[in-house]
């Protein structure tokens, strides 16, 4: 069991605290924020009312003795590169393991040097995969595929992936999962393969590679279900905010038939059944799968005249008071702060898959 210090902790990575019971072989012992950050002196997990009991601090050196490993998050890395390097150096000097993603590693490698204590969280596939891909046909795995997608960034998508994982595992299912955060490995599953973001591959190649990759991974164990988080959004917000035109979700849904698709949407107290149904139809056309499950976030966005999208984390009490009433036979809806409805929705996902007709 590794005792982990997270740096720099920020609200966007609150899953690490809120879902710490799901961590496999890791224990979060310290959450250290940037110097002067608003999180300093507060308890992690306040939003979900599941206080992890870890006081967030800006005292990196002071917390270091409590941990075996430091997880460096990419949050504002480029602006604070020197600070990261200083903190990495300090951790390595004290013989701590440092865990970081490929981007941070590539930027800092020359300055921090090589060390067996450096662990890179990345799912960069062996290059041979590119050569192994045969474009003859797409193959559908023999087990169901559940996807978690979202309207855009910052929509509690990783949280929904963890909730789905938890529910499947509680029911005894073996889950093959690919997620949208660098630190998926801490929770026992893999990050989406990095070739999906490669700039030198065509979308067609990515689709075939992803199909090949998933089928290969499925054969490695007796999995019951595949859960895939679709990075980014599904559609552009407007002519300025493209969400990469939903490229990743398009690749995933083209590579595999999605049996269950959960869509994470931003908080909207005015949301109506008709709108969700309209969106369900849109998904059917755009990504070729039914999207009957809606997971409402506690975050909101706005696009000011500058066209720079701004996300904001809404107040817990405000959210709870303004959860819209969505009742419909076809649409399954829950809000991330409504534990009861959330559990019901996840149960109905399991139920739908269990009731599927089995084909030979």
């Amino acid at each position: 069991m590794y005792r982990v210090l997270v740096y720099p902790y920020n609200q966007g990575d609150s899953c690490l605290a809120e879902y710490r019971s799901m961590l496999e072989q890791y224990e979060i012992v310290s959450l250290v924020c940037l110097k002067g950050a608003n999180e300093n002196g507060k308890f992690a997990g306040v939003q979900k009312d599941t206080s992890a009991g870890i006081l967030i601090t800006e005292n990196y050196e002071g917390e270091m003795d409590k941990c075996d490993a430091v997880l460096f998050l990419e949050y504002h890395f480029l602006e604070h590169k020197d600070t990261y390097i200083e903190k990495m150096g300090s951790a390595l000097l004290k013989n701590k393991v440092i865990m970081l993603n490929q981007t941070i590693y590539d930027e800092c490698q020359k300055l921090i040097g090589d060390s067996s204590n450096i662990v890179i969280f990345d799912n960069s596939l062996e290059m041979e995969l590119r050569q192994q891909v045969y474009k003859k046909r797409l193959v559908q795995p023999d087990i169901p595929v559940a996807a978690v997608m979202s309207l855009g960034e910052n929509c509690n998508k990783f949280e929904a992936q963890l909730e789905l994982r938890k529910k499947f595992m509680e029911k005894g299912y073996k889950v093959l999962q690919f997620g949208t955060k660098d630190y998926c490995e801490l929770f026992g599953f893999k990050k989406l393969p990095s070739f999906l973001m490669a700039e030198d591959l065509s979308i067609v190649n990515k689709i075939h590679m992803f199909n090949y990759y998933i089928n290969r991974e499925v054969l490695k164990d007796n999995y019951d279900v595949i859960v895939i988080g679709g990075a980014g959004g599904i559609l552009p917000f407007d002519q300025y905010i493209s969400n990469h035109f939903g490229e990743i979700t398009f690749i995933i849904s083209s590579a595999l038939n999605i049996d269950i698709n959960v869509i994470c949407i931003y908080h909207n107290d005015q949301a109506k059944v008709e709108e969700l149904k309209e969106f369900r139809e849109y998904c059917k056309g755009k990504i070729g799968c039914f999207s009957d499950y809606f997971y409402m976030s506690d975050k909101q966005y706005r696009i000011p005249e500058s066209h720079q999208i701004e996300y904001f984390q809404l107040d817990r009490q405000y959210c709870i008071k303004s959860i819209p009433e969505i009742k419909d036979d076809d649409i399954k809806f829950c809000h991330c702060l409504d534990e009861e409805k959330k559990s019901q929705m996840l149960d109905s996902i399991i139920c739908e898959l269990e009731e599927n007709i089995e084909l030979v």
């Binding site: 110097k35 909101q300 005249e305 904001f312 405000y318």
Partner: protein, 468 residues
């Protein structure tokens, strides 16, 4: 009721549809019909052209049912997490006695005093900013006066405190100064800390010194130029980044001001902000001479034809050229497909206290540096106790005091009025708002007409920079 505005250029007819925020090029016959409908000379059912527009989604019934700022329900969130900018009034004292200054005594809102901000107040304001901006990637701290450089050591202390206490928070610094105290030492400090510095300069010596004087009556132009030239010898990069701010006032000779900024080496490549002397809260009417108005309009005309590439050899000062981005921005807002909803508010108001938070020497919190410090409604909080949410809500929802008019006003999407233009004697006043409405509506009409004319003559609205 259908809310629209008819527009006409020498060659074409247009209708602006408020619901859709679009301008349609229409025939003369359609224009005349819609004009008659506007005057209630015919009924909607008698307007034959309506059907074709409505079939395409335009000129539908007014959908606005309520005037409410769309961010109203998120006020608490903005005030708690998204405070973007702190402006510290470090002193009310100034070494100049500019005649048009808001501290000059010619305005209702303030006078010069020898008040200086205490360190306790500044520290509390700074801490408040960082504690209430958790969702901001970057915040701005700006220093304002009086003349802020009278307090250089105090400003240094503030910057040091921020850099030590909030080391990893991205902070931009800014200052508006009269430039008379801009020593080499001050410039070096501002440069090292990457300040955005704005120097007030009203043009040539004659134009500048007409208003911007020391207490003994001496003009301040020469000393500012000496400072700038001395600093330029040591640190040209600093001077290259300085922005100049020019206040056109009733004593300005527009021709000499524009020629000065066109020809003077030290300023001709600089960014120049230009504005008219503030009329809000002025004790006297501010009236510009016809010559001034006509020269300015002629420059505007030159800008239009230069945008249309029909003004070869014409030189325009930077502050006129900068207006181009305004046209492009206005056009992009029409392209944006942001339609009105049932509940909305006219454009203009920010979220006071979040978009900007002006803290005066006494620790009073105001929505910005322009508002009256004597006004009860504009004082939205105290640095000791925080911001009064109810006051913020009232200030950002000033449309509610003219709700009936706003619901049916065609200029709702193009209005420029914020609380500043509605306050009188410490209260929000419907009559004051109505009086200022006329100007806002004229401004909106001007903007739409400019778009129509430029489009007619083939202007590409920002596309040439992208594609050519």
């Amino acid at each position: 009721m259908i809310v629209y505005k008819l527009l006409k250029t020498p060659d074409n007819y247009y209708v602006y549809d408020r619901n859709k925020n679009k301008i349609l090029n229409i025939s003369e016959a359609d224009y005349l019909e819609l004009s008659m409908l506007k005057k209630n000379e015919i009924s909607e059912s008698e307007v034959s052209c309506l059907k074709k527009f409505q079939k395409n989604g335009y000129l539908q019934e007014n959908i606005v049912e309520e005037i409410q700022h769309p961010e109203t329900k998120y006020i608490n969130h903005f005030l708690n997490n998204r405070v973007r900018m702190l402006i510290l009034q470090v002193t009310q004292s100034c070494n100049l006695r500019c005649e048009y200054c808001s501290f000059s005594g010619n305005y209702e809102n303030r006078v010069h005093s020898n008040k200086f901000m205490t360190w306790e107040t500044a520290k509390k304001a700074i801490d408040y900013l960082y504690e209430h901006s958790s969702e901001m990637d970057e915040v701005t701290v700006s220093f304002y006066g009086g003349e802020p450089l009278l307090c250089l050591d105090f400003i240094k202390k503030c910057v040091l405190y921020i850099k030590e206490t909030y080391a990893d928070r991205k902070t931009s610094f800014g200052m508006t100064t009269n430039g008379t105290l801009l020593s080499l030492e001050a410039a070096e400090f501002l440069f090292i800390n990457n300040f955005s510095v704005t120097i007030s300069l009203d043009g040539s010596k004659k134009d500048h010194d007409a208003n911007r004087k020391f207490a003994d009556g001496r003009g301040s132009f020469d000393i500012i130029m000496e400072n700038i030239k001395r600093i330029a010898e040591h640190n040209k990069d600093f001077i290259d980044k300085v922005r100049f701010n020019t206040v056109l006032n009733t004593k300005s000779d527009y021709g000499t001001v524009r020629n000065y900024f066109l020809s003077e080496d030290i300023v001709c490549d600089a960014s120049i902000g230009i504005g008219l002397v503030e009329s809000i809260n002025s004790k006297e009417d501010i009236v510009f001479a016809d010559k001034f108005v006509n020269q300015r309009r002629y420059d505007f005309f030159l800008l239009l034809i230069s945008l249309l590439k029909k003004a070869n050899g014409v030189s325009l000062p930077g502050f006129v050229k900068e207006l181009k981005s305004g046209f492009d921005l206005d056009y992009s807002s029409i392209e944006d497909n942001r339609y009105l909803s049932k509940s909305c508010h006219h454009s203009g108001p920010c979220i006071p206290g979040a978009t900007r938070m002006f803290v005066n020497t006494d620790g009073g919190i105001y929505s910005c540096e322009k508002v009256s410090e004597y006004s009860e409604v504009m004082r939205i909080g105290e640095i000791e106790t925080g911001i009064d949410v109810q006051k913020v809500s009232e200030a950002m929802n000033i449309g509610s005091i003219s709700e009936k008019d706003c619901k049916n006003c065609w200029a709702l999407n193009w209005c420029s009025m914020c609380a500043l233009y509605v306050e009188k004697n410490g209260q929000f006043d419907a009559a004051t708002k109505k009086a200022n409405c006329a100007q806002a509506i004229l401004g909106a009409e001007d903007k739409l007409l400019n778009l129509c004319v430029l489009k007619e003559f083939g202007y590409k609205f920002g596309k040439e920079e992208l594609y050519v």
